[in-house]
């Protein structure tokens, strides 16, 4: 490598560090990206408005943080690259906090934390086999092990569906390696195959299963324990560019205030029919 090339690389590597303090600004307006295709978190109405749990909560958060917020619709696959390219300042799109994503972006504190659970057909023997809808915290290892072992036993010889590249897919691989799983691209395909009898159960986030349950006219029901924490993450949060402490502080304070006064609980019950308030 020539000296010039080395110098160029050094300059490029140091530039962001040098520029960071200069960017420290007083935030008054922010652009927030949403997929607008992930009900009931966010979805677009025919006239182009974005509705759902997140748009409702965003209004609250922005008024408490004294920010003027503008919503941008961005396809899911390009949502992180778009943030990195500076097309908007934050992502609010049902995005779970994961270590892989934390390598490229920063997160606010979570504003919702939905448990992960099973969905099966009404009348399935799995409802009894998977047992009570009790809360199971993954960091409590003994309880988590006992519960997942019981699930794995109930699911022996059955076929479990998960969505590709999700925390639920990781969960199945880690805790129930002997259970046969099939991986789907979208939740709609899982629903069709559950109804057709190709699969016996779906493992997914309870709040996204709400849409499944509502569309099935009572044919599909929830079953088994509700899992929280650990490898399932701490919930969904705003994604922001790295090294933006002022923006993070503003969002964190507003989210904390919405959690404290029960706004998150109220909106979660409205959209998810279940309280998904994150617990420390």
């Amino acid at each position: 490598m020539s000296k010039l090339a080395r110098l160029a690389i050094a300059v490029v590597a140091v530039l962001p560090l040098a520029a960071a303090p200069a960017l420290a600004k007083e935030w008054t307006t922010i652009k927030v990206a949403t997929e607008a295709a992930f009900p009931p978190f966010n979805s677009a109405t025919p006239d182009g408005k974005v509705v759902g749990f997140e748009p409702d909560l965003l209004v609250e958060i922005c008024s408490r943080a004294k920010l003027t917020c503008e919503t941008v619709i961005q396809e899911w696959k390009g949502i992180i690259p778009g943030l990195l390219a500076g097309k908007y300042d934050a992502i609010m799109s049902g995005m779970s906090v994961t270590p892989k994503r934390q390598e490229v972006i920063d997160f606010s504190i979570p504003y919702t934390n939905s448990p992960s659970t099973y969905a099966v057909l009404k009348g399935s023997p799995l409802i009894a086999a998977l047992g009570e809808p009790k809360r199971v915290m993954l960091p409590e290892e003994a309880a988590a092990k006992a519960s997942t072992a019981a699930d794995a036993k109930a699911l022996a010889g059955k076929l479990l569906a998960v969505q590709t590249a999700t925390i639920q897919a990781d969960f199945a691989k880690t805790y129930m390696p002997d259970v046969k799983t099939r991986v789907y691209e979208t939740t709609q395909e899982e629903d069709l195959d559950l109804k057709a009898g190709r699969i016996d159960a779906i493992f997914a986030s309870a709040s996204s299963l709400v849409a499944t349950l509502e569309q099935s006219n009572g044919e599909i029901v929830l079953a088994g324990p509700k899992y929280y924490g650990g490898l399932l993450g701490i919930g969904s949060a705003f994604g922001i560019q790295k090294d933006q402490p002022e923006l993070k502080a503003k969002l964190d304070a507003a989210i904390a205030s919405c959690i404290a006064d029960g706004t998150v609980k109220r909106l979660a019950e409205k959209w998810f029919h279940v309280d998904t308030t994150p617990r420390p």
Binding site: R182, Y184, R198
Partner: protein, 237 residues
């Protein structure tokens, strides 16, 4: 992870999909070939048969394979009596659904390839066989079919290559062949360019091997193309 290590790791993960891809190609091309032979028989048997086979070819060749796969996988899955019939143990499995769609589809194309080959058989060859005392069936088996297959081989090679690429559509019905694995790596790593490039290269390698093999077969089956024995270099013996 360094870039090179990532590429290597991706390559290894994608290699795991190669057996699925190859099994889809091999089984569906073989079943489709048998079906194409049967279709050709029906076509030559009667006027009604000719009409029915043409209609089949028209429908299967004229509609997208993607839609055929969707219809067989999701369509049949919604019909109650199919779910309770003897077919369901097969149609319940995505692999068999893909095989069914690919075989039905390639049968239509292969029947056309075979038709072209049969049309190219010189009338004189058939007459000569008959004059030598061969019956219709024997003449077909010994003279017509070998010539037809030889004539059809280049077009048949194309069909098999197209089938290798067509198996990538099976990823939409949860089959983890090369493309399916590539999609899932992309959605985990956000690195579409590298992953899809490697997937493309693997397909190229498979098709390179296949076309070479068919080329050799073609040369073997067409001795006249090798030139006269005197043109060849003297062998070691």
């Amino acid at each position: 992870m360094t870039r090179l290590a990532f590429l290597w790791d991706t390559f290894l993960q994608l290699l795991a999909g190669v057996p699925v891809t190859l099994s889809l190609v091999a089984v569906s091309v073989a079943l489709g070939g048998l079906l194409a032979l049967a279709l050709t028989g029906i076509r030559r048997a009667s006027r009604l048969g000719e009409w029915a086979v043409s209609a089949y070819v028209f429908a299967l060749r004229g509609s997208p394979l993607l839609i055929q796969i969707f219809l067989i996988y999701y369509g049949f899955g919604q019909i109650g009596w199919i779910r309770s019939s003897f077919l369901w143990p097969f149609l319940r499995e995505p692999w068999w659904c893909a095989i069914t769609a690919l075989a039905l589809n390639t049968a239509a194309y292969q029947a056309e390839v075979l038709r072209g080959g049969l049309n190219a058989v010189p009338k004189g060859a058939v007459e000569a066989a008959r004059v030598c005392g061969m019956g219709r069936a024997m003449a077909f088996r010994r003279i017509v079919l070998p010539i037809a297959i030889r004539q059809a081989l280049p077009a048949y090679t194309s069909e098999v290559v197209i089938m290798v690429k067509a198996t990538s559509l099976a990823s939409i019905i949860t089959l983890f062949e090369i493309t399916g694995i590539a999609h899932s790596i992309v959605s985990e790593t956000f690195r579409a360019f590298e992953v899809l490039s490697i997937a493309g290269l693997i397909y190229l390698a498979i098709n390179f091997t296949l076309t070479r093999a068919f080329r050799r077969l073609e040369i073997r089956l067409t001795p006249q193309s090798r030139g006269r024995p005197t043109d060849r270099p003297v062998s070691k013996a």
